[in-house]
């Protein structure tokens, strides 16, 4: 998915009116919406490149490590910025997947699967209260794996 830029460019250069076009265009729209939502709800703090800042965790090249455990997988949805975002479950799943594809880089495990609408709905029901402590614990666990 890291070559989505290429994909989009491809569509741009060669508008496709053929079979399966609507599916692809839908997929493309979802990508654009995911990016748009990232910009609207995440970028202010995490930055356009996911670099993170003073008091804001870095996403770029780091976020993928959380996918190495189920607890980590849930964590990314349970953080208040994600869980509380005014997005539908499917939209939140898309933003998270887009973010992972976009910024996670080598931090991703070799095998990983994208979030589904259903699991996002489940995880976000209980947003985290002790985010920093939880994050610390998680990272410790993950580093010892």
């Amino acid at each position: 998915m890291k070559n989505c830029a290429w994909l989009i460019l491809f569509f741009a250069v060669l508008p496709d009116y053929g079979q399966a076009d609507s599916d692809r265009r839908q997929a493309d729209t979802d990508q654009r919406r995911a990016k748009f939502n990232y910009q609207l709800f995440c970028q202010g703090c995490h930055g356009p490149d996911g670099a993170g800042r003073n008091g804001v965790p870095r996403i770029h090249s780091e976020i993928g490590v959380f996918l190495k455990s189920q607890a980590g997988r849930e964590y990314l949805i349970k953080v208040p910025g994600a869980a509380n975002a005014p997005l539908k479950d499917a939209e939140l799943a898309d933003v998270m997947n887009w973010t992972l594809n976009q910024f996670a880089g080598n931090s991703l495990p070799e095998q990983w699967r994208e979030y589904t609408e259903h699991e996002v709905a489940e995880y976000r029901k209980q947003p985290l209260l002790e985010v920093l402590e939880h994050r610390k614990t998680l990272l410790q666990e993950l580093s010892t794996q």
Binding site: L40, C42, G44
Partner: protein, 173 residues
């Protein structure tokens, strides 16, 4: 930072009489136009000339508060402080934390994602105060709040002025 609208409305009257500005406006050292006191350019304008279709169009005046990008801005316009609508004045630092909004460019009718990066690290510019609050939300929606000092993440937390940077195209709902 979005309280002074009414004040601005009042002072915009004074702006008209440039030579004898007084009252609040003078006191506050601003040179400002209240939000929306000049109608935005109609979308149609962009299409008037067919030739224009080959280049992006943005004909607004970034020295006025009415400029389309400023739809959710607060504070002092960097354009009046030695910077521009998307760059900081010399000696300052652009905030990395910011709030994000969407505004419509009347020249092409498109909604753009605007990043309102503050310029930090110099005493308040105190010029061109511009307060518009479209889709601004209280601090519980920090990502949409211009009441917060967004220089909080920079090496100096001192707010100087605000930019409005096009960082993307918005999607229609």
């Amino acid at each position: 930072m979005n309280i002074l609208d009414k004040f601005m409305e009042k002072s915009s009257r004074h702006v008209a009489q440039r030579s004898s500005r007084r009252g609040l406006l003078r006191g506050l050292g601003t040179a400002m136009v209240g939000a929306a006191s000049i109608p935005l350019l109609p979308v149609a304008r962009a299409s008037e000339g067919g030739a224009q279709a080959s280049a992006p169009v943005d004909t607004g005046d970034p020295t006025t508060c009415d400029y389309w990008r400023y739809c959710a801005i607060d504070g002092f316009l960097c354009e009046c402080c030695g910077g521009t609508y998307n760059s900081c004045p010399p000696g300052t630092e652009m905030s990395t934390l910011t709030w994000i909004g969407t505004c419509t460019n009347p020249d092409d009718g498109r909604n753009y994602v605007i990043s309102y990066n503050d310029c930090c690290g110099a005493t308040q510019c105190a010029n061109c105060l511009c307060q518009r609050d479209e889709r601004d939300r209280p601090v519980y929606r920090a990502d949409k709040s211009n009441d917060i000092n967004w220089c909080l993440g920079s090496s100096s937390s001192i707010y100087h002025c605000s930019t409005a940077i096009v960082v993307g195209l918005a999607l229609e709902d």
